[in-house]
C-alpha cells in the first residue's frame, strides 16, 4: 500500500491528508489489491545508433534526442510492458458511475500501484542482468520527452503484449487497459560512469509539460 504516492497524485502535499481521506485511500487500496491483475513481459533487442541520430531497436527505428541520451553507451535494450489489467479499469469505471470520490482515489492508487509494480519488475530484471555483468538504464516510455508515441504499435507488437499480458492500443495510440506502461530499458556493459548524469530515476526532467500539477521537484 503506497499511501504517500496516492496522496501526491491527488494533489496533497506532505502531511496534508486528513483522516477521512486517508481512510478512503486505505479502502481503495484494499479493493484494488483484490481487483488488479498485475502482468508484465519483457524481451531484449539489439540496439544500434546511426550517424543521423536514428536509433535502431531491432523491431523499430525512431529518432529521439532524449532517448538517445538515455541509451548512450548501450548495445541492447530491454522492451518492457506492464499492466494492472482490465479488472482495474472496470473497478474505476464502476465507481466513476456511482461514487466519483472513490473513483478519483482509485485512479490515483492504481497509478501508484502500477509505478511500484514496474519498479519491482524492473528491479528483478536488473538483478538478472547484473549477474551477467550488465547494468540497466532507467526505463524510458514512449510519449515521454520526444520519444514518439507512434513507436507503441511496434513496441507492443515485438513483445506480443496483446496476447501475453493483454495490452492493446486504440486508434489514437492510447493503451487499453489504461493502467499500463511500456518502456525501453537500456542495457550497458559497465556500472558507474557511463550512466552518470543520466540516471534521472523517477524524475520529470525530460518532460515538456512544465505546468504539470504532478511535476516532481528536482531532488
Amino acid at each position: 500500500m503506497n499511501v504517500e504516492e496516492t496522496l501526491r497524485y491527488l494533489g496533497y502535499g506532505r502531511g496534508q491528508g486528513d483522516l477521512q481521506t486517508l481512510k478512503l485511500v486505505e479502502e481503495c487500496w484494499q479493493e484494488l489489491e483484490q481487483a488488479a491483475a498485475r502482468r508484465s513481459c519483457f524481451r531484449e533487442y539489439p540496439l544500434a545508433f546511426s550517424d543521423s541520430g536514428q536509433l535502431d531497436l531491432g523491431c523499430f527505428q525512431t529518432k529521439s534526442l532524449a532517448l538517445s541520451k538515455n541509451l548512450k553507451g548501450c548495445q541492447a535494450v530491454v522492451l518492457f510492458a506492464a499492466t494492472l489489467g482490465v479488472q482495474t479499469d472496470i473497478l474505476i469505471r464502476r465507481y466513476s458511475r456511482l461514487e466519483m470520490s472513490r473513483a478519483v482515489v482509485l485512479q490515483a492508487a492504481a497509478a501508484a500501484m502500477l509505478e511500484d509494480y514496474c519498479d519491482q519488475v524492473n528491479e528483478e530484471i536488473r538483478q538478472e542482468y547484473e549477474k551477467k555483468g550488465l547494468s540497466l538504464r532507467p526505463r524510458f516510455s514512449p510519449g515521454y520527452g520526444d520519444f514518439p508515441l507512434e513507436c507503441q504499435p511496434a513496441l507492443l507488437g515485438a513483445l506480443e503484449a496483446g496476447k501475453r499480458v493483454g495490452i492493446t492500443l486504440t486508434d489514437s495510440l492510447l493503451m487499453a487497459p489504461s493502467k499500463s506502461v511500456t518502456a525501453v530499458i537500456g542495457v550497458s556493459p559497465a556500472e558507474g560512469s557511463a550512466a552518470e548524469g543520466l540516471c534521472i530515476g523517477k524524475g520529470c526532467g525530460s518532460c515538456g509539460k512544465r505546468d504539470c500539477a504532478y511535476r516532481r521537484e528536482k531532488s
Binding site: 483522516l19 477521512q20 478512503l24 523491431c59 456511482l98 515485438a158 496483446g162 509539460k209
Partner: protein, 824 residues
C-alpha cells in the same frame, strides 16, 4: 472419399499442427514484418511448412491467417486482405492435395484491439471484421473455422457469431487461460465453456499462453464442464529469453510425453502452438495416435454467465433481482426517459450488495425505443456489474439486440407454450445461447391444474428439442397467481414445481411476489411462500433481494437444507460479528465496499452545511430530512447547501481542500438534493435549472474520469448536464449543441494524439453553434495549447469549469487571476 472432420473426431484422436511464427522467422521473417504477407510473397515456404506438418501426422492445418483482418490490413494498404486470405487457404489446400489427406482450418486470431467500453472497438464492428475473413476463407475452400488465442470471451463471441452467420462450416474455439484458469479479461473456465457452448461451437479448448504441463490443471476444469470435444494446443513449454532468442523449458520428447497424459485425461483434439514444430507434432502423434477416443459426456448443467463467472442453476436456489423494471415506479420511468443510467446502475448495485446472483433487466415503457434502450442499459450494466443478466422483454427486436451484445450466456425472460412465442424465441436461444424462462401457458391460457401445466412444459421441451435446445437450457415457470383470488393457486404452483423436478427432471423458476397481490403486509406471505416454493424444488426465484423477509427465507432454507455448510452464510448474514453486517437493513452483504461514512461517528446534531463540508453522505441525507420538517426546500438549498458548497469550492481553489474531499462534499450535497427533489415533486414543485451544458470526451479518447468529475460538480450547481460520453465524434457534439441551443460545451482530451479531435470539434462547433462557448480541459492541455486550438477557456481543474459556467451563464465575473480565466 474422406469423412467430415466431426466424424473423424468421433472416431479417433485428431491432431492439429503446431507453431507457424517461429518457423517463418527461422526462414527469414523479420521482426515487425506481417507474417500473413508471406502467403503471397513466399507461398512455397508456406506449402512446405504445411506439408511438413501433414508429414508429421497432423490432421488439421491452420491457415496462416492469424492476423489477416481489416484492422491489421486496412483498405488501400500494400496488400489486399482478400488475396492474403485466399492465398492462406490455397497454400494449405495445396499441401492437403499433395499429401492426399488432411483438413484446412481457417484461422481467426484476435483483432489486437480491446472491445468497448474499455477499448475502442465496437462489438458490431468486430463482427464485421471477422465476417469479411470468414466469407473469403470459406469460399476459398476451408473445411472448418478455428477461432484461437482469444483472451477475451466477448471478442471470441464476435468471431464465432461471424463464423456461424457467414458459413456453414464447423466452428472450433480455443482460448488463452493463465495458470490460475482465468482469461486475461477475467473470465473463468466455467463461464467460458458456458459462453462458447451457448454459441454452439463444435469443439472448444485451450491454446497458447502455457506449456502442456501447466495446461493439465486447466484441462481438468474444462473436462468437468464441457459437453463438446475438447482441444489442447499448448506452447512448446514456458518460454524464457536466452541471448535474445526464445527458448522453452522442455524439449520435444517431454512435450509429447505430457501430451500423452493430456490425451489420457480426455483431450480429443491435440496439437501445438508457439514454439512447437513438425518434430513436436510427429512425436505427439506417435504417442497418441492409437489412444481410445472418449468424447465428453453431455453435462446437462443449467448455467448462465457474465464476463467473469458462471452461475449454476440447480438445487441451491438462485436469486434473480427484479428491481430493474419501470413498472409502478415513476422515478425509474423518468430515469429511462432521461437516459439516466446512473439511477439504473444504482438499482443494480444495490441488489448485488443485497445478495442477488442475477439481475433481471426490463426497460419496457410506452413510447420508448425499447431495442435501443435495452442495448444501452445492458451495455452499461455489464461494464459495471459482473452479475449475469436476465433479459426481460416481450419485444423480440429488443431481445435479439440484447442477446447479441450481451457479454456472456444470458437468462432470457420469456417464452411460453404458444406456437408463435416458441417460433420467435427458440431460434434466438439456439443462435446466441442462453437459458430461457418458459411460462407454463399456451393458446388455451393458464391451466388450473399442475397436470395441465406439466403438459405444456412437455410440449415446450419437445419443441425446444426440435431446435436443438436441451432441457437444461429451459426453466419452467410454474406460474404464481395471486392467492387472494384463488385459494388453491399456491398449492397448484407448488405441485407444478415438484412434478417438473420429479417427473420431467426439469428446472423451475417463479416470480414469487405475485402471490400476495391485494393482500396487506405482502412481505409476510411472500417470505412464507418463497420458503414453501424452495422446499418444493424451486431452482430460481425472481424477487426483490432488498427485502429482508425474502432473504431471511432464502438463508434459512439453505441452512435447513444442507446447502450452507455449517450454516456459515446464515451466521455471516445474521450473526452480527465485527463487521456488524447482520444489523444492516435487509442484511447487506459485507465487505464489497466499505461503509460510506468514512469518518467516525459525528455528533448527532451536525448541521446540513457541516455534513456537506465534511462529505458525509448518509448524515447529509438525515439532516436534510429533519430540516425539511421546519423549512422550505429552496431556503435549505440557498441558505445551507450553496454556502457549504461554495466554502468547499473556495478551499479547493486555495489548496486547503483536495479533490477527494471536494467530491465527497459534492456527493453529500447530491444525496441531500435527492431528498429535496422528492419533497418538491410531492408538492408539485420543481427546481429550476440554471442552464444546459454539454460535456464530452473527444473522439479517439476513452478516458472520461476528468469529464465525470466536472459533471458531478456542475450538477451540484444546478446545471442540466448532457453527458455525451467518451470517444464522441465531432459531428455529434456539434449537432447536439445546435439542436439543444446550449450556451456552453465542455470538452476533455487526455493525450496529445486526441487534441486534434478536440480542435476539429471546436471548429465544427463554431459553424453549427457559434453562440456556444467552449471550455476545455485534460492532462496535456495548457492555457496556450487551449488558445491555439480555439477554445474560449482552459479549465485547469473541475472548480474552474464551475466558475466559467457561472460566468458564461449567470454573468458572474471571474475573480482576477482565478484559475480557469478565459483565454480570449
Amino acid at each position: 472419399m474422406r469423412g467430415t472432420i466431426m466424424e473423424e473426431i468421433r472416431r479417433r484422436k485428431v491432431f492439429f499442427d503446431g507453431g507457424m511464427g517461429s518457423l517463418l522467422q527461422a526462414r527469414g521473417l523479420k521482426a515487425g514484418e506481417l507474417p500473413e504477407t508471406w502467403n503471397l510473397l513466399h507461398p512455397e515456404i508456406l506449402r512446405q511448412i504445411h506439408g511438413d506438418y501433414l508429414g508429421a501426422g497432423c490432421d488439421i492445418l491452420t491457415t496462416n491467417t492469424f492476423g489477416a483482418n481489416r484492422i491489421k490490413y486496412p483498405a488501400g494498404g500494400a496488400f489486399s486482405l482478400k488475396e492474403i486470405t485466399e492465398a492462406g487457404v490455397a497454400n494449405a489446400r495445396e499441401a492437403v492435395k499433395e499429401a492426399g489427406r488432411g483438413y484446412v482450418a481457417l484461422d481467426l486470431g484476435p483483432t489486437g484491439k480491446l472491445l468497448k467500453p474499455l477499448g475502442d472497438l465496437d462489438f458490431d464492428h468486430a463482427c464485421a471484421v471477422y465476417k469479411e475473413v470468414v466469407e473469403t476463407g470459406s469460399r476459398a475452400g476451408a473445411d472448418l473455422v478455428l477461432v484461437e488465442t482469444m483472451s477475451d470471451g466477448y471478442e471470441a463471441k464476435a468471431a464465432i457469431l461471424a463464423a456461424k452467420e457467414n458459413c456453414g462450416l464447423p466452428v472450433f474455439a480455443t482460448m488463452i487461460f493463465d495458470q490460475k484458469g482465468k482469461l486475461l479479461t477475467g473470465g473463468s473456465v466455467e463461464s467460458t465453456v458456458a459462453l462458447l457452448e451457448g454459441l454452439g461451437v463444435d469443439a472448444l479448448g485451450i491454446n497458447c499462453g502455457l506449456g502442456p504441463v501447466q495446461m493439465k490443471e486447466i484441462l481438468k476444469e474444462l473436462l468437468k464442464y464441457a459437453s463438446v470435444p475438447v482441444i489442447v494446443n499448448p506452447n512448446a513449454g514456458l518460454p524464457r529469453s536466452q541471448d535474445g532468442r526464445t527458448v522453452y523449458d522442455i524439449d520435444e520428447n517431454e512435450f509429447a510425453a505430457v501430451m500423452e497424459e493430456i490425451a489420457d485425461m480426455g483431450a480429443n483434439v491435440l496439437g501445438g502452438c508457439c514454439g512447437t514444430t513438425p518434430g513436436h507434432i510427429k512425436k505427439l502423434v506417435e504417442r497418441c495416435r492409437d489412444k481410445e477416443q472418449r468424447l465428453p459426456a453431455r453435462k446437462g448443467r443449467t448455467v448462465v454467465s457474465s464476463y467473469t463467472h458462471a452461475v449454476v442453476i440447480d438445487r441451491d436456489p438462485v436469486i434473480i433481482g427484479e428491481r430493474i423494471n419501470p413498472t409502478g415506479k415513476s422515478r425509474f420511468k423518468q430515469a429511462l426517459r432521461d437516459h439516466n443510467l446512473e439511477y439504473i446502475l444504482q438499482e443494480g448495485v444495490t441488489q448485488e450488495d443485497h445478495g442477488a446472483h442475477v439481475l433481471d433487466v426490463n426497460v419496457g415503457l410506452p413510447g420508448i425505443d425499447e431495442a435501443g434502450m435495452m442495448e444501452e442499459v445492458v451495455k452499461e450494466l455489464q461494464s459495471v456489474i459482473d452479475l449475469p443478466l436476465q433479459i426481460d422483454t416481450s419485444d423480440i427486436g429488443a431481445m435479439e439486440r440484447a442477446m447479441r451484445i450481451y457479454n456472456g450466456k444470458p437468462l432470457i425472460n420469456s417464452v411460453n407454450g404458444k406456437e408463435e412465442s416458441m417460433k420467435a424465441i427458440f431460434p434466438l436461444v439456439k443462435h446466441y445461447g442462453g437459458v430461457v424462462v418458459a411460462l407454463a401457458l399456451d393458446e388455451g391460457g393458464i391451466p388450473d391444474t399442475a397436470q395441465g401445466r406439466l403438459e405444456i412444459a412437455k410440449k415446450i421441451y419437445a419443441t425446444a428439442a426440435e431446435y436443438g435446445i436441451g432441457k437444461e437450457d429451459i426453466l419452467i415457470d410454474g406460474l404464481c397467481l395471486t392467492v387472494s383470488s384463488d385459494s388453491k393457486g399456491a398449492l397448484t404452483t407448488l405441485e407444478t414445481l415438484r412434478r417438473v423436478r420429479d417427473e420431467l427432471g426439469g428446472k423451475t423458476i417463479l416470480g414469487v411476489s405475485n402471490i400476495s397481490f391485494g393482500l396487506p403486509q405482502r412481505e409476510i406471505i411472500n417470505g412464507a411462500f418463497f420458503t414453501m416454493a424452495m422446499a418444493s424444488g424451486l431452482n430460481a426465484a425472481i424477487i426483490n433481494p432488498n427485502s429482508q423477509a425474502m432473504m431471511q427465507s432464502y438463508y434459512s432454507f439453505r441452512a435447513l437444507s444442507d446447502l450452507d455448510s455449517q450454516c456459515g452464510d446464515y451466521i455471516g448474514m445474521y450473526g452480527g460479528g465485527p463487521s456488524g453486517a447482520g444489523e444492516a437493513p435487509g442484511g447487506l452483504k459485507a465487505g464489497r465496499r466499505g461503509p460510506r461514512e468514512v469518518l467516525g461517528p459525528a455528533p448527532g446534531s451536525m448541521g446540513l452545511g457541516d455534513c456537506i463540508r465534511r462529505g458525509l453522505k448518509e448524515k447529509a441525507h438525515e439532516a436534510v430530512k429533519a430540516l425539511l420538517k421546519e423549512r422550505e426546500a429552496l431556503d435549505i438549498i440557498n441558505e445551507e447547501m450553496i454556502p457549504a458548497l461554495d466554502n468547499v469550492g473556495k478551499g479547493f481553489e486555495k489548496g486547503t481542500v483536495f479533490l477527494p474531499q471536494l467530491l465527497m462534499s459534492a456527493e453529500a450535497a447530491k444525496a441531500a438534493f435527492e431528498v429535496i427533489k422528492d419533497e418538491m415533486a410531492r408538492n408539485g414543485q420543481s427546481q429550476e435549472k440554471k442552464g444546459t451544458i454539454i460535456l464530452a470526451t473527444v473522439k479517439g479518447d476513452i478516458h472520461d474520469i476528468g469529464k465525470n468529475i466536472v459533471k458531478v460538480l456542475l450538477e451540484n450547481y444546478s446545471y442540466q448536464v448532457v453527458d455525451l460520453g467518451k470517444d464522441v465524434p465531432p459531428e455529434k457534439i456539434a449537432q447536439e449543441a445546435a439542436d439543444r441551443k446550449v450556451p456552453l460545451v465542455g470538452l476533455s482530451a487526455l493525450m496529445t494524439t486526441t487534441v486534434p479531435g478536440m480542435e476539429e470539434t471546436i471548429r465544427l462547433l463554431r459553424e453549427s453553434a457559434p453562440w456556444a462557448k467552449v471550455m476545455v480541459g485534460g492532462a496535456v492541455l495548457t492555457e496556450e495549447y487551449a488558445r491555439t486550438i480555439g477554445a474560449d477557456c482552459y479549465c485547469r481543474d473541475a472548480m474552474a469549469s464551475v466558475n466559467y459556467a457561472e460566468s458564461v451563464i449567470l454573468g458572474k465575473e471571474l475573480e482576477h487571476g482565478e484559475k480557469g480565466a478565459g483565454t480570449r
